[in-house]
Amino acid sequence: MMLQIWLVQALVVFLTTQCIGELVDTCGVISPESPVIQHGSNFTAFCVLNEKCMSIYEVNASHIIWKANRVLIPKEQYTIINTTTSSVTFTNTSLTNVQLICNILAFGQIEMNIYGVRMRTGFPPEKPKNLTCIVNEGKRMMCQWDPGRETHLETNFTVKSEWATEKFEDCKAKPETPTSCIVEYSPVYFVNIEVWVEAQNALGKVASDHINFDPVDKVKPNPPRNLSVSNSEELSSILKLTWINPSIMNVMRLKYDIHYKTKDASTWSQIPPEDTATTRTSFTVQDLKPFTEYVFRIRCMKGDGKGFWSDWSEDARGVTYEARPSKAPSFWYKIPSHTQGSRSVQLIWKTLPPSEANGKILDYEVTLTRWKSRSQNYTVNDTNLTVNLTNDRYIATLAARNLVGKSDASVLTIPACDFQATHPITDLKAYPKDNMLWVEWTPPGKAVRKYILEWCVLSDKSPCIPDWQQESGIVRRTYLRGELLGSKCYLITVTPVYSDGPGSPESTKAYLKQAPPSKGPTVRTKKVGKNEAVLQWDQLPVDVQNGFIRNYTIFYRTIIGNETAVNVDSSHTEYTLTSLNSDTLYMVRMTAYTDEGGKDGPEFTFTTPKFAQGEIEAIVVPVCLAFLLTTLLGVLFCFNKRDLIKKHIWPNVPDPSKSHIAQWSPHTPPRHNFNSKDQIYSDGNFTDVSVVEIEANDKKPFPEDLKSLDLFKKEKISTEGHSSGIGGSSCMSSSRPSISSGDENESAQNTSSTVQYSTVVHSGYRHQVPSVQVFSRSESTQPLLDSEERPEDLQLVDNVDSGDGILPQQQYFKQNCHQPKTSPDISHFERSKQVSSSNEEDFLRLKQQQISDPISQSCGAEQMKMFQGVSTTDVFGSETEAPAERLETAGMEAAVDEGMPKSYLPQTVRQGGYVPQ
């Protein structure tokens, strides 16, 4: 039967292989079929061709080519064993995964794949190390190990275990966890077990060292359960812990590890291990702080220390019972108001920190004792008490009270009103360190009961709201216990407190952390000079300082120039920049520096002036002064030498009084009022010009006359046809003086025909008879004014003229002589008299003036003006010359003045034919 079955099977296998052989028959095979090669070793593969293929494709082993991962392998690695077999050898294999293919070159050239294999390279397993096992309570045993280097091949790990008498089931590590395995059976405690691990892959098999242990020594117990904490009213420093042990307690003894901490602490404290080395279910923790919440946790392990600690239990919390406050509160006072006879005192104190309060503070007990009188008691819930006290000395005490008891009392002496604080501390310093503001001082000579430190933020915006703290009398150095901010200036005051009252306070300023100022100083110029500028700035407000201003730096530059920096001490608010260029735009800014850095202020520009202040004045004033002085000197000179100048400048106005005519006519009517214009115009005639017709042969022409004649000719041409009698006469008169003067130069008083008052028109003038014109006139124009106003005078002159050529001149001057008050011509007259009487030189001078007169006056169309001008010049001249003489003359001639004018009036009426053309 068996044989039959075997035969059938053999047949099936044979047939199958035949079929497969027919289907997938290849030209050759590679051996080994699926090689696994140890990394770094040599390897040889063989390709064996079958005879059929060799004959079909006409190949042999020499036509075999090898490829590794489709790359041709060099022929040096080939070996032809025989006609059907070729081998390839790899030395020091390093590739981990290689596809090796055997090819033939059919017909010597067509490449055909024959067979392929995949080579795997790796390492044999290393001996596993560090095999350890752990028994988690209630679970199975787990062993783990270090597998050594990576093999790059599939490697199986098997944990084997046995007793001396019995083998246990193997534990095969799962591929995903090749370094550990959990055995299938529950371990038996107190019986030693031998455990090892075997590693195996295609390249080998290796076993670790055997370990022999009692599983109970590898136990990791479950943590203790239901940890609870209870306190004791008797003892505020203890808490009792209770818990339930894990069931492994029945198998082995346990020891414990108990940790505890206060609620907010980050690190745990440990109960000494020797106190918890035995199996137990409760423990009392001692030396705890009263009224404090504690957190506990516990773990356990086998009592002899073998095995593993359990995990920690869940945290349990408990609060110790209250105790009496351990310290007296900080106690201080303020006197907000003080009036005559009483004062309001605010007692202030600090709440005790929880570590000192030892419970919930219910209230504070305050007593106030006036010197030698009964004390007053107060119970306060708040931390301050305001009382009205007299000006006497008081003793205040303060105690905090909680459920259990009362603290010690803080005692404070409130001195009498007239108390003088003394004994300040010395060397007060404040500095930041470790992000705290430390205060240090030297104690005074007197025994200090305590120190009070007060501090507040200095700011311009908000008032100083002080915080305070108390330090015991032995403290020399402390830090401010408050929430301090950086970049804020703190004013710190330390007051020593003596048994009889507070001492003198001492203050200092400090920063917890300085920063650069938040604003830079604003610089401006106070004064700008040509080469210097005085800069001025304000101290930075304390709110923007952010630190102690150590120094300032002034940067200044011109638009194109480099910036120059000047350091200035922080105490200054002014600085003078020197060596500046004049007339230059400067940009200046300032940086204020604290210890932590600086901050620029806004830039300020200014321009230096071209000239220094006072420079212009220094130039202008002397120039002006010099000018003024020169002018003054000139004026003075002129004044002093006025006569000389006058001689050169002013026209030589002939003085009628010096005229010989005046002497000639003693009947000259008295002078009339100058202002009597009504009389003048009532006639409706300008009859002040007398025309004297003189025969051409009456006078001997002089060369000067010829010149004047020429001039006159010209004038005549320009004014022909419309020139008035006056104009004509004046022009003629203006030209005449030179004739007359020349005349007079020759013959002084006795000149017969040269001196004429008015224009002498040639007889041919009216009748347009061309003939030689001879002009003659009076030496002065002044009488023209008189004749203008007093036509009768002129008339008289006319009459005279008609009679005699010399007499009328004298007559005329006589007439003038009789009006001393109204006419300034008196002086002329006077002088003329003097001249005529005696002084030859003066007379000569006068003539010179007369000569210059016509020169200074134009003889064009403005004849009227000329008259006025001449008269005013005369007035000036008379007044400046000799007023005394004039008075004298006035008195002398007064009688003559009266009664005379009447005789001339009819003459004036008579003279109607002399109306100008």
Partner: protein, 225 residues
């Protein structure tokens, strides 16, 4: 042991003697062997552990058997189960046992009990109970190995297993279900009694093996004087 009563010189002499002969003790002569002391202690701990284990196992199993077996005051007369080794023995007889006989009795008893217990395991219905019984069996086998180890450590030969005493615990047709349960009950009860007894045996043996350690302590104290 009278060592505690002797003077210090006597102690020292005794100690020296013991130390002199220590290498000669067969159990201690094996290299790498920690000696019988730890083994005895371990065996003692194991008996205690098994006792504790059995307590919970028995509770479970008796509940599985149901009333009246799981009632606390159920105390039937020992009628059948003669094949079970009896743990109870006269105190004097027990005291007079030497170590070898004592260990041999333990070994034989547990060998038998283990066989019966395996039969019990096969009958157990629930998986949980079967696992507990299997673990207990393994543990009991560990105890057996421990006892063998102690005996080997002390140089005593292991008793040859009697032919025919191998798994004979087969439900015979003569047994009714109740009687079978009764046998199970008695098996557990006898197992418990044996574990108590073994604890005492190994405790006694443990104390007996301690003297050298005590002598060392005394020697150190004497040296301190």
């Amino acid at each position: 042991m009278d060592l505690r009563a002797g003077d210090s010189w006597g102690m020292l002499a005794c100690l020296c003697t013991v130390l002199w002969h220590l290498p000669a003790v067969p159990a201690l002569n094996r290299t790498g062997d920690p000696g019988p002391g730890p083994s005895i202690q371990k065996t003692y701990d194991l008996t205690r552990y098994l006792e504790h284990q059995l307590r919970s196992l028995a509770g479970t199993y008796l509940n599985y058997l149901g009333p009246p077996f799981n009632e606390p005051d159920f105390n039937p007369p020992r009628l059948g189960a003669e094949t079970l080794p009896r743990a109870t023995v006269n105190l004097d007889v027990w005291r007079s046992l030497n170590d070898k006989l004592r260990l041999t009795q333990n070994y034989e008893a547990y060998s038998h009990l283990l066989c019966y217990l395996r039969g019990l395991n096969r009958q157990a219905a629930t998986g949980e109970l079967r696992r507990s019984l299997a673990h207990f069996c393994t543990s009991l086998q560990g105890l057996l190995g421990s006892i063998a180890g102690v005996m080997a450590a002390l140089g005593y030969p292991l008793p040859q297993p009697l032919p025919g005493t191998e798994p004979t615990w087969a439900p015979g047709p003569a047994h009714s279900d109740f009687l079978q349960k009764m046998d199970d009950f008695w098996l557990l009860k006898e197992l418990q009694t044996w574990l108590w007894r073994s604890a005492k045996d190994f405790n006694r043996l443990k104390k007996k093996m301690q003297p050298p350690a005590a002598a060392v302590t005394l020697h150190l104290e004497a040296h301190g004087f």
